[in-house]
């Protein structure tokens, strides 16, 4: 597109099926459906490129969260320390195999895949290059990221703390903080990647 030329994109609102012309947006602008108010698009390519630093930070935080203890609990001289993986693994040892798998995928596998996809897409956008697996990565992000439950898990941690604080001494480990940072960076990165902008740019890169 030559500079200065205004080119609208025709889309159908996914919530009410209204045909809408979406104009090119500024970094902080949003485009809403005039009938139902659904957010059709936000920001532009510049904004989408800002996902990279957040994606990198998230990618650093996740392995750290797996390395260090998450919480520890001590009573009557016996202490027990757990890491993030053990919160799902113990359920497996206790016989809840299926539940253990679900929790493992909600708090570790899916979020890890989401971050990998964010990195791939934001590298492609910043380098202006077509990279392999871009299309599956973008499909994954825009359909599956709702199933990543990192933030719900963190609230769960706070609730557990209150539940057992009176029973014995509970200490928070380093991993809890890196996992919290991981959650924040992931949300920040996803908020930069607009569906419409990403797919339009990827289409250009592919040709």
């Amino acid at each position: 597109m030559p500079p200065g030329e205004i080119k609208n994109t025709k889309v159908a609102c996914v919530e009410c099926d209204l045909l809408v012309d979406v104009p090119p947006l500024e970094v902080r602008q949003r485009s809403l459906c005039p009938r139902c108010g659904h957010v059709l698009s936000y920001g532009n390519l510049e904004r989408a490129r800002h996902a990279l630093p957040y994606g990198i930070c998230a990618a650093v935080m996740l392995p750290l969260s797996l390395l260090f203890p998450f919480m520890s609990f001590a009573r009557s001289g016996i202490e027990n320390e757990v890491n993030l993986v053990q919160t799902a693994w113990t359920l497996y040892l206790d016989g809840s195999v299926f539940l253990s798998g679900l929790i493992f995928s909600f708090i570790i596998t899916l979020p890890a895949c989401v971050v990998a996809a964010i990195l791939l897409i934001s590298f492609a956008l910043n380098l202006n290059r077509n990279l392999p697996l871009l299309r599956p990565a973008a499909r994954f992000i825009f359909s599956v990221s709702n199933w990543s439950m990192v933030e719900v898990f963190i609230i769960g941690v706070l609730v557990s703390l209150v539940k057992i604080a009176h029973m014995a001494s509970v200490e928070l480990g380093l991993s809890l903080w890196t996992y919290l940072a991981f959650a924040i960076f992931t949300v920040a990165a996803l908020a930069k990647l607009d569906k419409l902008v990403v797919w339009q740019q990827m289409e250009k890169l592919a040709t």
Partner: protein
Amino acid sequence: MIAVESAAASGLTSCHTCYQLVSTQSHRCPRCHSSVHARISNSVQRTMALVATAALLYIPAMTLPIMRTVSLGTPMDSTVVGGVVVLWHMGSYPIAAIIFVASVFVPVGKLIALTVLCWFVTYGKGVTPQQQTVLYRITELVGKWSMIDVFVVSILVALIKLGDVLSFYPGVAALTFACVVIITMVAAELFDPRLIWDKAAQHE
């Protein structure tokens, strides 16, 4: 209100994954290769089937124990509501409220909301499409937060393993509750909000 035309009426449909406009005749989006439908097929029936499944599973999720506590060799089972009551008596009112909202209010509210939405897009009138859309968005937004209690169980079970002194074990309800949450999330995804506006357009 301005006269508007839906994409379907123009023989077009939007790809849910990438917003590409494609003809209603095609089944696959040319840009991202996702499957596309003008409307989610049998949206109301499939949503209601999952709502019924979740409602049935919600009964054991509430009545069976979600966690077993073994303290000095004595086992004690606790249910979701039992946990809320204990927290309330401990004086942790905000946490008791969070658990109650996440485990009772949200799942039940979601089942009712989806049923109401399905009823409206099939028979209803009187409620504006804007109001229905707000209901739909809340339903979609709060879905995964019901998982809090299941995560609490997984954390406590892993953390509190001090042999016979004090140990926590998962209960059956943890799994059924997780299933209720997952099934209601899928039900909300299968509900097609465009039906709300199709119905409104019929009445005009």
